[in-house]
C-alpha cells in the first residue's frame, strides 16, 4: 500500500513541478506590458515557478514512502507530503495566486491542475500516515 501511495506522491510532485510551466499565461505568449514598454511576467508565472519548491519535498516524501521500511519514516513522509501538497495549493490560491480574469489560461488550466494534484498529494500523504500508524514491534534481543 505504501509503495502505491509513494508512486501517487511522486507523480503528483512531477505534475506540480512540470505542468505550470506549460499552462501559465506566459506559455501562451501573454505578458504584462509596463508603461515604459517592457514586458514582464504575470503573477501566475511566478506561482508556477514557486510550485517547484513545493513539489520537491512532496517528491522526496514519495521516494521515502516507496523505499522506506520503518513506520516512523513513513509517517514522517506522510506529514511532509501533506504539508507540501497544502503549500502547493496555497501558492496558487492565496500566497501568490493566479491572474484576476477567470477566463485566462492560468485559471482554466494551471490552477485546476495544481489544485487537483495538490489535493491528490495531500490525500495520498494522509493515507500513508494512517497506513503506517501501527506501532513497530520492539526489537528482539538475541539470547546470549
Amino acid at each position: 500500500m505504501n509503495k502505491f501511495l509513494g508512486v501517487i506522491m511522486i507523480l503528483t510532485a512531477l505534475v506540480l513541478a512540470i505542468a505550470p510551466v506549460f499552462t501559465d499565461c506566459e506559455s501562451q505568449g501573454k505578458m504584462l506590458t509596463t508603461a515604459d514598454g517592457r514586458s514582464v511576467s504575470m503573477k501566475c508565472h511566478w506561482a508556477g515557478i514557486a510550485e517547484i519548491a513545493a513539489a520537491i519535498p512532496l517528491g522526496i516524501a514519495g521516494i521515502y514512502a516507496l523505499r522506506g521500511r520503518r513506520k516512523e519514516t513513513l509517517r514522517l513522509a506522510g506529514i511532509v507530503g501533506a504539508a507540501s501538497g497544502l503549500m502547493a495549493i496555497l501558492l496558487a490560491t492565496e500566497l501568490i495566486g493566479t491572474c484576476g480574469n477567470p477566463a485566462m489560461t492560468c485559471n482554466v488550466l494551471m490552477r485546476p491542475i495544481v489544485l487537483f494534484s495538490g489535493t491528490l498529494g495531500i490525500v495520498a500523504s494522509i493515507a500513508l500516515f494512517f497506513v503506517a500508524r501501527e506501532p513497530e514491534p520492539p526489537p528482539t534481543v538475541a539470547a546470549a
Binding site: 502505491f4 480574469n101 477566463a103 482554466v108 488550466l109 485546476p112 487537483f116 489535493t119
Partner: protein, 397 residues
C-alpha cells in the same frame, strides 16, 4: 474473528486482486458520475439560462439565430441590428403583452481602452425591461443608474475597487449575478443610456469608437399574455414583420440541446461497454480466487463456519473493495469536474453548472450504489459456488 475482520484480512492478504477489483469499481463509479453530472449540469445550465432570459419569445434579425445562442451560452460577442420600429410592430400583434429591446455590444480585442478583451455586453431599456430588472431587484431595487453596470459571475473590477474601463469610459461595477454556467457569466449588463454615454466617450477616449447605429436594436424580447399559444404568435411575427426571426424560449439553444443529446448517446454506448466488461472481469477474478481458496474455505467450513458465513465473507469482501474503490472514484470525478469545469465548457462548447448540494449528494449516492451493485453481482456467483462445496472434498484437493 468477526466477519468484517475476516474480510479485511482477505483483502490485505491478496493485494493484486484487491487492487484490480477496487480499480474496476473506481472506473465504473467515476465514469458514471462524471458523465451524469456533466450531462445534468449542462441541461440545468441551459434551463437556467433560458429562465434567466425571462422572455417567451426572442426576436432577432433573420440569420442571427446561431449568433445569439453563441453569445448567450458561450459569451461569444455578437453584433447584429434591426430597426427599432419593430418594437411597435411586435406590440401590435395580438397576444404580445410586453416587448423590450436590447442592444448587444462587444469590447475591443487587446486595446488599452478596454479592461477586458472581447467581452459580451448587453444594454437594456429600463423603461420596458422585464428580463434583467427582476434579477436586479434583489440587490439593487433602484435599478442601474448612468455609468453603472452589473456583471456576470466571472466579471470583476479591474480599475480601483469597482471600476471597469470600457471603450475608455470608466464604469462602476455595482454587483455580480448568480452563476449560470453559461456565457451570461462573462457578460456585462447596463442601460441603453449608459451604452450611448459609452459611445460618446469612445469618440475621444477609445482606440476605436463604439458604434451604435441610430434607431437600431439587436434583439427584442417578448412577454406573451397568459394562456396564449406562443407558437401561433411566433408564426404571426414571422408573417407580419419582415427580416426578423422569432425564437420561442423552448426552442432556444437548440444547437446545444442537440449537442447534449449526441453526447448522451455516446456516454450511454461507452457505459454499455464498460459496465458489463467490469462485471465480467470482477466475476472472473472472484472465480479464480474462489478456486485458489478452496482449501482455506474448506478448513473454515470444517471448523464450523456455515455456508452462509462463507458466502457472506466473500460478498462482504467484495462490497468493501467496491465501497473503497467507488468512494475514491467519486472523489476524483467530483474534484475533477469542479476544478476543470471552465476547461470542459471551453472544450465541449456546452454550458455547465454543478448541481445544488442535495442533488449532487443524490447522484453521488447513485454512483456509489451502482458500483457496489456491480461488484456484488460479479462476486455473487463465485460466492454461492464456493459456499456449496463439500468441506472434505475441498480440503483434499
Amino acid at each position: 474473528m468477526s466477519l468484517l475482520q475476516l474480510a479485511w484480512k482477505n483483502i490485505a492478504g491478496n493485494g493484486l486482486r484487491s487492487w484490480v477489483v477496487a480499480l474496476c469499481a473506481l472506473v465504473v463509479a467515476a465514469f458514471t458520475l462524471f458523465a451524469t453530472l456533466l450531462l445534468r449540469g449542462s441541461a440545468t445550465s441551459l434551463e437556467l439560462a433560458a429562465a434567466r432570459l425571462g422572455a417567451e419569445i426572442v426576436v432577432v434579425p433573420e440569420g442571427a439565430q446561431t449568433e445569439i445562442e453563441g453569445a448567450l451560452l458561450m459569451g461569444v460577442p455578437a453584433q447584429f441590428w434591426m430597426p427599432e420600429e419593430n418594437v411597435e410592430k411586435l406590440l401590435a400583434i395580438p397576444g404580445v403583452e410586453a416587448a423590450s429591446p436590447q442592444i448587444y455590444l462587444a469590447t475591443l480585442v487587446g486595446a488599452s481602452c478596454c479592461s477586458v478583451s472581447e467581452m459580451f455586453m448587453v444594454a437594456y431599456d429600463p423603461e420596458t425591461d422585464f428580463t434583467v430588472r427582476p434579477w436586479l431587484e434583489k440587490e439593487l431595487p433602484a435599478g442601474l443608474g448612468l455609468g453603472e453596470v452589473i456583471g456576470g459571475d466571472y466579471i470583476f473590477a479591474t480599475e480601483g475597487e469597482d471600476g471597469i474601463l470600457v471603450y475608455g469610459d470608466l464604469v462602476k461595477l455595482v454587483g455580480n449575478l448568480e452563476p449560470t454556467g453559461t456565457g451570461l457569466d462573462q457578460s456585462l449588463f447596463f442601460t441603453l443610456d449608459t451604452a450611448h454615454d459609452m459611445a460618446r466617450v469612445s469618440l475621444t477616449e477609445a482606440l476605436e469608437p463604439l458604434v451604435i447605429p441610430p434607431d437600431q436594436v439587436s434583439a427584442i424580447l417578448l412577454k406573451t399574455e397568459p394562456g396564449t399559444n406562443t407558437e401561433e404568435i411566433a408564426v404571426e411575427i414571422y408573417r407580419t414583420v419582415p427580416g426578423v426571426y422569432p425564437i420561442q424560449s423552448a426552442n432556444l439553444f437548440q444547437t446545444s440541446r442537440m449537442h447534449l443529446e449526441s453526447l448522451l448517446n455516446t456516454v450511454v454506448i461507452v457505459m454499455m461497454l464498460i459496465w458489463p466488461l467490469a462485471i465480467v472481469l470482477i466475476g472472473m477474478i472472484y472465480l479464480m480466487a474462489a478456486n485458489e481458496r478452496r482449501r482455506e474455505l474448506g478448513v473454515l467450513r470444517a471448523l464450523g463456519a456455515t455456508r452462509r458465513f462463507v458466502a457472506e465473507s466473500l460478498l462482504l469482501e467484495a462490497s468493501l473493495l467496491a465501497f473503497c474503490g467507488a468512494s475514491a472514484g467519486i472523489f476524483v470525478a467530483v474534484l475533477a469536474l469542479y476544478l476543470f469545469r471552465r476547461l470542459i465548457i471551453n472544450s465541449l462548447g456546452v454550458p455547465f453548472l454543478l448541481p445544488p448540494p442535495g442533488l449532487l449528494a443524490l447522484q453521488i449516492g447513485i454512483g456509489l450504489l451502482l458500483a457496489m451493485f456491480s461488484v456484488f453481482l460479479a462476486a455473487l456467483l463465485p460466492a454461492i459456488k464456493i459456499s456449496r462445496q463439500d468441506p472434505a472434498i475441498a480440503m483434499r484437493e
